[in-house]
């Protein structure tokens, strides 16, 4: 796996996605990891010529993040999954892919202060 970009500001997400799409890279997934300090690390994983490459961004848990669903149609559900499980917000997308907003447990993969992990 490549070194990634060490957590750039999220305003660069769309530029990065355009660049990867133009280079023929396939989007594998978007991993959201709660860092436990009110921020979430978004790891965009790509397959380029058989190698896995990552691009990392650190975002505030509550802020609205640019969506790349118009660059990769397959990103839509990846982003919506992060909305459901981590309580994130992506521009132009609604939660409710896997959970029912208002009925299901809210953001189950977010760290709670009483939990160590």
């Amino acid at each position: 796996m490549s070194e990634g970009n060490g957590g750039k500001p999220h305003q660069d997400i769309r530029g990065m996605a355009y660049q990867m799409r133009a280079s023929g890279a396939r989007l594998i997934t978007i991993v959201g990891v709660d860092r436990g300090d009110g921020t979430i690390e978004l790891i965009y994983l790509f397959d380029r010529n058989g190698d896995v490459e990552d691009r990392r961004f650190v975002v505030e848990a509550e802020e609205e993040v640019d969506s790349i669903s118009d660059i990769y149609a397959g990103a839509t559900n990846m982003e919506r999954e992060n909305m459901d499980l981590l309580g994130m917000r992506f521009k132009g997308l609604e939660p409710g892919l896997l959970l029912v907003p208002g009925k299901s447990v809210k953001a189950p993969l977010r760290k709670r202060s009483e939990e160590g992990t």
Partner: protein
Amino acid sequence: MSRTTIIPIGPQHPAFLEPLNVSLELKEERVVGATLNLGYNHRGMEHALSLDYKKSQYLVERVCGICSNHHSAAYCQTVEAIYGVEVPERARIIRTITMECQRITSHLLALGHIAEVVGYENLFMQCFRERELVMRLVNEITGNRVHYSTNVIGGVKRDIDAAMERRIEDVMSDLRPRLEELHAIFSRDSTFVKRTKGIGKLTREQAIDWCVVGPVARASGVAQDVREDGFAAYDRVRLRPVVREEGDCYARTMVRMDECLRSVDLIEECLPLLKEGSVVLSVKGHPSGEGISRVEAPRGELMYYVKAIGKLQLDRVKIRTPAFVNVPAVQAMLPGARLADVPVITVSLDPCICCTDR
């Protein structure tokens, strides 16, 4: 002027083995739009798997009952990468054999399923009859038919002795002509061909856009197969990924059919590679660090991300199953299709909702 009608297909529908809902927008008999609704089978597996990394090597198989062995292989590979250990060669070969056995059982299930929705019930029965040979073989190799529970962090739990090697050889010899017979039916039967050729097309560009993987991608001309990474013992065998260009239901079916025969080749190639040696190494201490690993499951690339923190609990487990990216692509395949073809198109994706929802 015809009106637009909305028809919900699923979550409970005779064509689907698991709950998913496709909301169809129709103009008379033609689909003009489709929206996929998921989440009927969400079980919070990623949270459950992060509670105890040791128990998770077994729990992870419960994500899916069809590609269970691939889930445990991918999970164990990821944790092994964090430990920085190399699994004994004999264990890698055994993992390859069981993964290829599971590819055959999974593909025969998918082939039987599409035969059934096309209306060819005795072909469905024939697929499941041949599948049973491998199900029983796997039961003899691992002690289990569905959740093999043979992969552990550091290798495999059960070895294959000389008698079992002969037994595998015999079953493969028995299976090959049966698969060739199935191949002839799927490729030449006029009813099946008419119901699948030119139906539910996904172009190469759409396949890349929707990030699809496995037989769905390969049937649309995208030549990607994670086995070429050489995980387990795939660096020791001759891989010849099956790629077709048509992108329709027929191509997806034939990729799976051809892959069954390739899996028999791979299993037969693996057997002479088995040399004396241990099948598991022990690892000490709790893992710490981040790992990403992937395997080629029957439905395509299966990826695991694990972040370990030197405790029994894991900080994060993320599973990107092949079905999670393949199933949504049905929204690109359905517009323009006839209503009667919707079950065939959906089933041609080999949808696994256990994997999609987790």
